[in-house]
Each structure stands twice: as structure tokens, then as C-alpha cells.
Subunit: 111 residues, 2 copies
DNA sequence: GACGTTATCGTGTATTGCAAGGTATGGCAA
DNA sequence: TTGCCATACCTTGCAATACACGATAACGTC
């Protein structure tokens, strides 16, 4: 893995998790659709990041999942936000904003 | 490690590295001083994150280091930015900004 | 010389992103 | 019905790295 990729990889750590919560908070979504959307935004590199992540979120009780038929193709597993998930999302916002601002300040350097 | 801490830990990944470059870009600094400043901003948890990081930056040729006497106490190892370091810092800004904006957009939900 | 302070650094563990590959289902065309 | 492709989910293994914990070293003070 070259340097540039590693930088992005590390930056994404811990961020995607909450972007997923935010997205399904707006309405349920299934795995591959989530993966594609996040890939388009540069937030994940592939599905192999997403599936283990969804499993962790489920284990943590932040999302529920449910199989649903599809008009075309295989059944899909749809995820929805639990109350704990909504709470975690709120908590994340309070964490993200100060961190983001600390980075911006440091990069901009008012010394 | 509890959940809350893990969230912060993951968020910090890949961010501190460039905050360090930004700080020493303003003038050389030594390890412990860097660590204290970054701890105050919530960007690292302890020196044990910083020293291995500085070693990596040095290996990558992004910083140089030099021992200097101190008025009081042990000698300190001062770090300075190399040209490659300055370049990496510029490159990071181009990576950070879109990512930060993608996160903000996703959290704020214009869907 | 014992002790506290300042400073740098090493070891071990846990987390996790991702590449690569595996499995299952449905649609479609020859 | 056979073959093939797209869709969809998931697993394995590796590599990167944050951090707790602790070691080591130099200096000053009593």
C-alpha cells in the first residue's frame, strides 16, 4: 500500500461508522447500496470494509437488520437505526465537531 | 477500552500525523512539548502515541531531528520540517478538506 | 546518594480498514 | 438445461497504528 492510500485509510477510521448511522437514520438501507454510496463519497474503499462494520454495529445494538425480498435479484438485508444508534449518532456529533475544529485550527496555524 | 474511548482513538488515526507537521512547520519543537500541546487539543492521548509517530515521520523523511542542550533538565531532540514534509502537509490538506466536507454533509443530511 | 522532574523510547495488545476470495440467488440467452 | 453474468452477502488474513505500561537516562536539589 503506498503512502497516499495509507493516509486516506487512516483518516477514514472511525468516521464511516457514524456516516452509516446517519444514512440509515434517514430510512433503512441494505448493505451493497450503503457501500456504493459511501464509495462514491470516498468514505470507504470497498464492501469488505462495510460488511464487518455492519456486523459490529449490530452486535453493539446500534442497528437492527431484516431480510426483504427484492424485485430483481437476491433478497437484501435492510438495516434500521435503533434508539441506541440514534443516541450514539448524537454523541458522535459532539465528538466530531471539536476534533474537526482542532484539526482546522492546527492546519491553519494561528500559532 | 470502553466504547467512547475507542471512537476517539479511531477518529484520531491519521490526523495527528499532519497536525504535527503543521506545528513544527511553524518552528522546531521537541517531543514532550509536542505531546503536551496535542494532548491539550485532544489530538493524542499520551506520549506513547507521539514518539513512535515521530520515528515514522523521520523514517519517511518528512522531518529531521537534532539534539539540543536544555537550560534545565535533559537534552531535547528537536524536530524540523523537511521539504518533503512541507509537500506532504500540502497534500494532506487536499485530502482532509473533501473528507471533512463529506462527513459534514452526511451528518447534516441533505440526503 | 536518594529522590523528583524532565525527557526519550520499547513492548505488547487490541482494533480495524481493506484486498482477495468464497457462496448463493435470480435473470437471460443459446 | 446449460452456461454465464450481475447482484448480494460474508470470511480470511494481513498490515497499520493508537495507547497503556513500563524502562531508561540525565539533570538538579537536599
Amino acid at each position: 500500500m503506498d503512502t497516499e492510500e495509507r493516509v486516506l485509510t487512516n483518516l477514514r477510521k472511525g468516521i464511516v461508522e457514524f456516516c452509516v448511522l446517519a444514512i440509515i437514520g434517514e430510512g433503512s438501507a441494505y448493505g451493497l447500496a450503503l457501500a456504493r454510496r459511501l464509495e462514491a463519497d470516498g468514505l470507504v474503499a470497498s464492501e469488505s470494509t462495510l460488511y464487518p462494520l455492519m456486523a459490529r454495529l449490530r452486535m453493539a445494538g446500534l442497528v437492527d437488520s431484516e431480510w426483504q425480498e427484492s424485485d430483481a435479484g437476491r433478497p437484501r438485508k435492510y438495516y434500521t437505526l435503533t434508539d441506541a444508534g440514534r443516541e450514539a449518532l448524537r454523541a458522535f456529533q459532539s465528538t466530531w465537531e471539536p476534533l474537526r475544529d482542532a484539526v482546522d485550527r492546527t492546519l491553519r496555524r494561528p500559532s
